[in-house]
Amino acid sequence: MPLISIKNVTKVYNTERGRTVSLDNVSLDVEQGEFITLVGPSGCGKSTMLNLVGGLLMPTSGQVLVNDEPVKGPGPDRGVIFQQYALFPWLTAQENVEFGLRLQKVPKKERAERAMHYLSLVGLQDFANALPKELSGGMKQRAAIARAYAVHPSVLLMDEPFGALDALTRVQMQDDLLETWEKEKRTVVFITHDVDEAVYLASRVVVMSPRPGRISEIIDVPLAYPRGEEIRLSPEFAEIRARVWRGVHHHE
């Protein structure tokens, strides 16, 4: 049984300029522990797909199942990481991480321990008391990742999380994310429009095409984890990257 099951999902937006078909009869299964990246040009419906799984949107038709249950709304079993970080600016890094735990009525002491555990996991143990405005972009996103991890979701949904970061920080964040993920495996659905990032992170790359949003190709990435520079610079990586590139840029 797949952990996430998207079955014949269509999502239509009614805007002032008419109907936009964001997703057109899309189906996708994601297995437990997989790292999936969704890649495609803007307008291909990748964010819509993520928000459907996250429960922030409802499908026009079709079904989204997580753990065999239809998604009825957002819930702590599916953590979401936003491109704009979405940290609560009035809370410290630690208080941000504790936010979800507080809602689950986790006792104070355990809350602090768990928050510190996940802040350490992302390398922010020394910034527990910092306010978001005192953190760099990369650090903010790390805090957001710790916050999502802390409530123990079975799925992590990441919506172009590194899109606002500079190229160097981005590569560092990719390595750090894989390291975190290998320490605590979660099923990850990760959106990007960066082909390198899509291939480097994923065990499967889902290539999407726009107008209407459809899955055009699914490409396996049979490269072993942990991944590092050798993998990034290997001919195998280059070959898969080329396939994904063609899928994204030359689909007809």
Partner: protein
């Protein structure tokens, strides 16, 4: 793209003061300038009062003397306390009602639909325009004055709060939802803190409106208060007393505004500085 284009322009425009403010030395010389301009202003005032040869234009010395006299005979204290308590009561009542009303309007379309037209309409009427009606109905006692001040404070603050709620970043609300927050929690733990900066702006505007309304209502009819004191002085052409009243009102308003600013800085320290 537009950002990049605007940058050089903004840079040249900001340069003269930006450089002075950037350095600590600049900060110090700015404070020095404040002192200089204070004495310069007093000097110009004195000079023009003397040169005008008009006995009705008081010099700073006349005003200080009058101030000392009013303190000595105890009247200034009484007027000040009355005015201050009117402003504070009206302001606090107005703000206390405006904040929940603004939240309701921002959060529930029903509340917005029922309240917003009235608020938008009454907002365009200066509260002073209501004074004749209020005096007829409520008389010239405390209730009438506090009511007009309350109205002024309420109308200034309610829309700011409403705007604050409307402006809460939807991503923050979504972030709370995916962490398991329901409506009530989102309201108390996200919407309220996120709109605090707007509420403070509203409160500061409300404070200004409260003082303006107070003085006007006291000028029209009141047994005591700073406005009454000035009105009385005017009948005896005691312009020095009028100036004492003006300075008192300015100083009290300024102090209350600074106190609010201090509270704002404390409570919204988390804001990114622009």
């Amino acid at each position: 793209m537009t950002d990049r284009k605007a940058e050089p322009e903004a840079l040249t425009m900001a340069t003269p003061t930006a450089i002075a403010e950037d350095t600590e030395k600049g900060e110090r010389s700015l404070k020095g300038l404040y002192v200089i301009t204070f004495f310069l202003g007093i000097g110009i005032w004195t000079l023009s009062a003397v040169l005008s040869r008009n006995a009705l234009i008081p010099t700073p010395i006349d005003v200080v003397a009058s101030f000392a006299e009013l303190i000595a005979n105890g009247t200034l204290w009484g007027h000040t306390v009355t005015s201050l308590s009117r402003v504070t009561t009206g302001f606090l009542l107005g703000v206390a009602l405006a904040i929940p009303a603004g939240f309701l309007m921002g959060w529930y379309w029903l509340a917005r639909g029922l309240l917003e037209p009235w608020i938008q309409f009454f907002r365009t009427i200066p509260p002073l325009a209501l004074i004749p009606l209020v005096i007829v109905i409520l008389g010239i006692g405390e209730t009438a004055k506090i009511f007009v001040i309350f109205l002024a404070a309420f109308l200034s603050c309610v829309l700011a709060t409403f705007q604050g709620v409307r402006n809460v970043d939807i991503t923050l609300i979504n972030a709370a939802r995916v962490l398991g927050a329901k409506d009530f929690t989102i309201f108390t733990r996200v919407v309220i803190p996120a709109s605090t900066p707007f509420i403070f702006v509203g409160m500061r505007v409300a404070l200004g409106a409260s003082w303006a309304t107070l003085v006007a209502s006291e000028l029209i009819a009141a047994p005591t208060g700073l406005g009454r004191m000035m009105q009385q002085a005017a009948q005896f052409l005691q312009t020095d007393r009028i100036v004492v009243g003006i300075i008192m009102i300015g100083a009290l308003g300024f102090i209350m505004d600074r106190l609010l600013l201090l509270a704002e800085r404390r409570l919204t320290r988390w804001q990114e500085t622009r």
